[in-house]
Each structure stands twice: as structure tokens, then as C-alpha cells.
């Protein structure tokens, strides 16, 4: 709540707290302050909450289903695919910039789809190492393609750096209007996966004896993570750190691996961290808006290292 309040109150333009409250709750919708809060800060805060939650949950799903503490949306190629999709529009079709979010989403899902195709088909499909290796290969493919485009259109690269480093921009409700169904799908699928994932932590054999199908659970979890991470990347660029670190922080704080705790709290933790980092990114050098990626790392890494030390 404090993070949300700060996000709505602080920015390039000073708006007193009572005016913010008046606009949000009092229905005062006239004047530039109201426009700034309703059309710029409020959508951006909601975006930060949704994206942060999505990335936190995506990381928790992947770490839980693959049983690998290094699993994150990067592993299934989503981040690289989304980066390629966004840079394709920025560098090759800058006049169609409104397609950026859709392109990032499409190529993020395409990359994840290619990883699933390679790693989940065949007799030995669904193995954890196969998923990770396929993810690395597909991610490298898209990263190389992105680098090639950047070399071919060097004068347009500065426009894309912000996306590659990760950052929210004030674009009103446009992005969320386009992308919300994907967040909704990922969230609903996640709700159905919480208990099966807990069974999976007991081992594939035990999970199977309890009536679960480990390969299907992994596939469904990877699908939900891919959709959530692609949708998040479509809006906020490449923010890989959240998906990797937030679930670990939540497990260390809560002292449990149960997904009934880890997944919802990862959503909350991811949302809080991103809202706080974005507020800093917007205000530290106002009116210049910095990319949020470095601030996420600044806030998250010390906490993570401290918790890691305590755990060891």
C-alpha cells in the first residue's frame, strides 16, 4: 500500500498528497493534476503491480515445476524472444510502434513454444535438463537475431535500449487493454496448478502415485509461466531479475516451499518491488525517467544476499 501511495504521489510534477487522494477517491477529475494521476501515474502503478506479480509468479512456477533454483523466464527463452519481437518493431518498423507490445508477446510465446516443442516431445521429453538446454539454445538464437538487427540499424538502437534494460513508460491504459487477457489466462491457470505443484515437490513417482501426471503439470506450469512472462515483457521490457530472485526471497522469509504460500506471496513481493523500483526510477533524476531494471537490482540484490547469508 505504501509503495502504491508513493507511486501515485511522487513524480516529475509535484502534486500534494491531499490532491492525489481527492482525485482517486473524491472523483475530482479536472485540471492537469487529475490528468497526470488518472492518465499517467495510475495506469503506470497498475502496470507495475500486474507486471511485478506476473514475473514473481512466473519464476515461482518455473522453479517449482523444474525443481531448479536457477529457473526463471529466461530459461524458457521468453525474455529473449520478447526482446527480439520488440526490437523488430523499434528498429525495422518504427512507424508501427503501436505493435510493439503485441510483437513482444508473440515472439516471447513463440520462443517458449519452440522450447516446449523440443523439450516435451519424444519418449524422454519433459526432462528438466532438456528444458533448460533447449531454453538456452532458443534464447541464444533470438539474442543473436536481436544483435544482428541492432548492428544493421545502429542509429535506431537508442530507442530500444530502454526496453532491453527494462522499464515502464507512461502510456496510459493502452498496453494493459491489449495484454490483460494474457495475464488473466496465466493467473487462472496458475490457480489450478498450486496443489499439483506441491505434489510434484514430493518427486515424480510419489506425485504419479497420488494421481498426478508430472509431465502435464510441468508443461502446464511452463505454459502459464511463458504467458505471464511474455505479457510482462510486452509491457515492461526485459526484467529478468524479478522472476529469478523474488521466489527465493519469499521462500527464505517464509521458511517454506509450499506453493500455497510461495506463489501468492511471490505475486505480492514482485508487485511491491517493481512499484517501489519504478517510483525511484521516475523520481531520482526527474524529469528524466531512468529504466527500472537497475533499480530493481539495487533494491533486490542486497536483500537477497542478506537473506542468503542468513540461510547459509
Amino acid at each position: 500500500m505504501a509503495a502504491v501511495g508513493a507511486s501515485l504521489t511522487f513524480g516529475a510534477v509535484k502534486i500534494p498528497l491531499h490532491e492525489v487522494i481527492d482525485v482517486i477517491f473524491g472523483g475530482n477529475s479536472s485540471g492537469p493534476s487529475a490528468k497526470i494521476i488518472e492518465l499517467l501515474r495510475l495506469p503506470r502503478t497498475v502496470e507495475a503491480i500486474v507486471v511485478g506479480a506476473a514475473l514473481g509468479v512466473a519464476g515461482a512456477l518455473l522453479q517449482g515445476s523444474l525443481g531448479n533454483p536457477l529457473a526463471s523466464p529466461d530459461v524458457i527463452g521468453v525474455t529473449s524472444g520478447a526482446g527480439f519481437g520488440a526490437m523488430l518493431i523499434i528498429l525495422l518498423y518504427p512507424d508501427s510502434i503501436q505493435l510493439l507490445a503485441v510483437s513482444a508477446l508473440f515472439f516471447g510465446l513463440l520462443a517458449a513454444g519452440l522450447v516446449f516443442l523440443v523439450s516435451f516431445t519424444g519418449r524422454t521429453g519433459g526432462g528438466i535438463s532438456r528444458v533448460i538446454l533447449a531454453g538456452i539454445a532458443i534464447a541464444s538464437l533470438f539474442s543473436a537475431a536481436t544483435a544482428a538487427m541492432m548492428a544493421a540499424y545502429p542509429d535506431r538502437v537508442p530507442s530500444g535500449i530502454f526496453f532491453l534494460v527494462g522499464g515502464l513508460t507512461s502510456t496510459g491504459w493502452n498496453n494493459l487493454e491489449q495484454i490483460w487477457p494474457y495475464f488473466a489466462f496465466g493467473a487462472v491457470l496458475t490457480c489450478f496448478l498450486i496443489r499439483p505443484l506441491d505434489r510434484l515437490t514430493l518427486g515424480d513417482d510419489v506425485a504419479a502415485s497420488l494421481g498426478s501426471r508430472p509431465r502435464m503439470i510441468r508443461l502446464a506450469a511452463a505454459l502459464a509461466a511463458a504467458v505471464l512472462a511474455s505479457a510482462a515483457a510486452a509491457i515492461a521490457g526485459l526484467l529478468a531479475f524479478l522472476g529469478l530472485v523474488v521466489p527465493h526471497v519469499v521462500r527464505m522469509i517464509g521458511g517454506t516451499n509450499r506453493h500455497t504460500f510461495v506463489i501468492p506471496v511471490s505475486a505480492l513481493g514482485g508487485a511491491t518491488l517493481l512499484v517501489a523500483a519504478d517510483t525511484l526510477a521516475r523520481t531520482v533524476r526527474a524529469p528524466i525517467e531512468m529504466p527500472v531494471g537497475p533499480f530493481l537490482v539495487l533494491l533486490g540484490v542486497p536483500l537477497f544476499l542478506w537473506l542468503l547469508r542468513k540461510a547459509v
Binding site: I36, R41, D95, Q98, A151, Y153, P154, F163, S170, N174
Partner: protein, 311 residues
Amino acid sequence: MKLSIAPEPKNGLSATLIATVIAVALVAVSFAGLADSASAAPPKRVVALTPFAANTMADLGVLPKAVGQVLNTSDERSSFNPKIDAGIRRGKIRVLTLTHPNGPNLEQLAQMRTDFVFSSSQWSKGTPAMKSLGIKVQQADPLSLGQTWSQIKSIAGKLGKARVGIRLVNQKRAQVAKSTQNIRSRPRVMVILGVGRTPFTFLDSSWGGKLVKAAGGTLLTGGASADGGFARISDEVVIAEQPDIIIAVPHAETKNIDEAIKYLENNPAWGNTPAADNDRIYVSTDNSLLQADGNPAKVINRVRSQYLKNR
């Protein structure tokens, strides 16, 4: 033989009546159109994000409420004309810092109650958000002389100064025609954008490339092509092309310009060219070859007198 396919009127009076009705209708429609355009009042609070838009507005007698200046650009590299600079000094024109990807800070635009922005494709990512704030946006960053004339007229039309715009275009066209007269020689010129220590050649499609050609230079591009106006080239290409003149345009932060200039002037890779042999490597430190500033004749004159020396 009858040439007209229209049916013969029964009498001359009917034909006259029909013609009169049509004429009155046409005139009425024309006036309606004029009334519509007259009633669309010109915007009052205009922000110009490009030097071209800002300077054109000043030439039209309308000052913007704010202008855009890319981060880390100082006054020495400013492309604004004296009227804009004076407005900035007196505090009548605000300067908005432009950064990727949106360009200006949108909260500041909203706070200023902006109703119109002249922007550039560089800042296109911010356009949807500006529109959602109720701000009208128009591109005003030409890449050729032809685009310059059409965009001056367009800006003038938007500001309710259509006739002034036409006069301004004619005036600037005459200035450009004068600046391109009596070209005594056409040296081989390579224009290079120095980004850090990586050279990018200006292509035919770039603003600077077009102006150098208009000034009489034979633009060398090493065979490179790209949509964006610049292409990364190796120093080998620079040597292979054997340019008579190299114009280097450093793309560095203002505080690093001196170091960039020193590197470009003394680039060892360019030593084996006629340009180096004849001491004709120049560094252009303002932005006039990178981006239109509304005064192409002045830039062409400068290129001819300082670099090409072909008057």
C-alpha cells in the same frame, strides 16, 4: 456531330438554371469547407520537440511554449534561432529534456496544458500517451529539402499562418537556390558520424548526406545502404574510398566533445587518404548535419565555405 453526351435540354432556360444551381452548390460547399477550417482555431499551447519545428514557428512569428532538447546537449550545440534562444533566456519558453523512449516527460507536458506537439519519429513511442492526454501530435523533422517545404507549410497551416508559410517557403527556396549557385568543384566527400570510436557513414537518405550533395559534394558511402540514414563501416572502407574531404560529426555528450574531436582528427586509420594528406579532415560540432533546423541554406553555405571550399 454532337460532342456532348448530356441530353439536350428542352430549352435554354433549363440549362442555365441547372448550371446556376450547380455553381451555387459548389460555391456553398467551398465556403462550408473554408468555414470549417476557419472555425478549427489554431492551437494555443504548442510544444516543439525538434529544432526544425521550433525555428519554423519562430520564423512564422509564433513562439512555442516549450522546446525539446536532447539530454546532455549544451547551449554551444544548440540549433535554435536567436528568437527561441531569447525566449528561453527570458523564461518565456521552457526547455524540456528529451530522453528515450518517450521524448519529453509526459507529466510536464500535461502540467503545461499542452494542446499540440510537433514531434519526431525518434519519440514516436510517446505519441500514443500524448494523444491519450488529449494532445494532438504531428511529425516535424524533415529528412530532405522537399519534406522541409511541405512541413513548413503544414506547420504554418496548423498555426493559422498559411499565407505566411507560403511566403516563408518561397523565401527559403530562393535562399537555397542562391546557396547552390556557381559550384566550382565537386570533391569526393565522406561524412562520418562518430559514435564513441565507431564510425558510421552518412548515407544518401540522411539529412546531412543530402545537404552535402546539395552543396556540391560527391557523397561517398562505401556502397553501404540502410533505411536509417547511417551505416556502420570499417576504417578500411574509408581508406578504399580515398575521399578528398572527410567531415566528422561527433555524437558525444557535450563534456566529451573535445576528446571526440581529438580522436576523429587524429584517427590513424584515415591517414592514408587524400583528405588526410591535404589536411582536409574537418569536425562539425553542431547538430546541423544531423537534424534539420529550418535553415538549410545557411548549412549549405557553411558546408561550401568551411569544408568543400567550392565557391
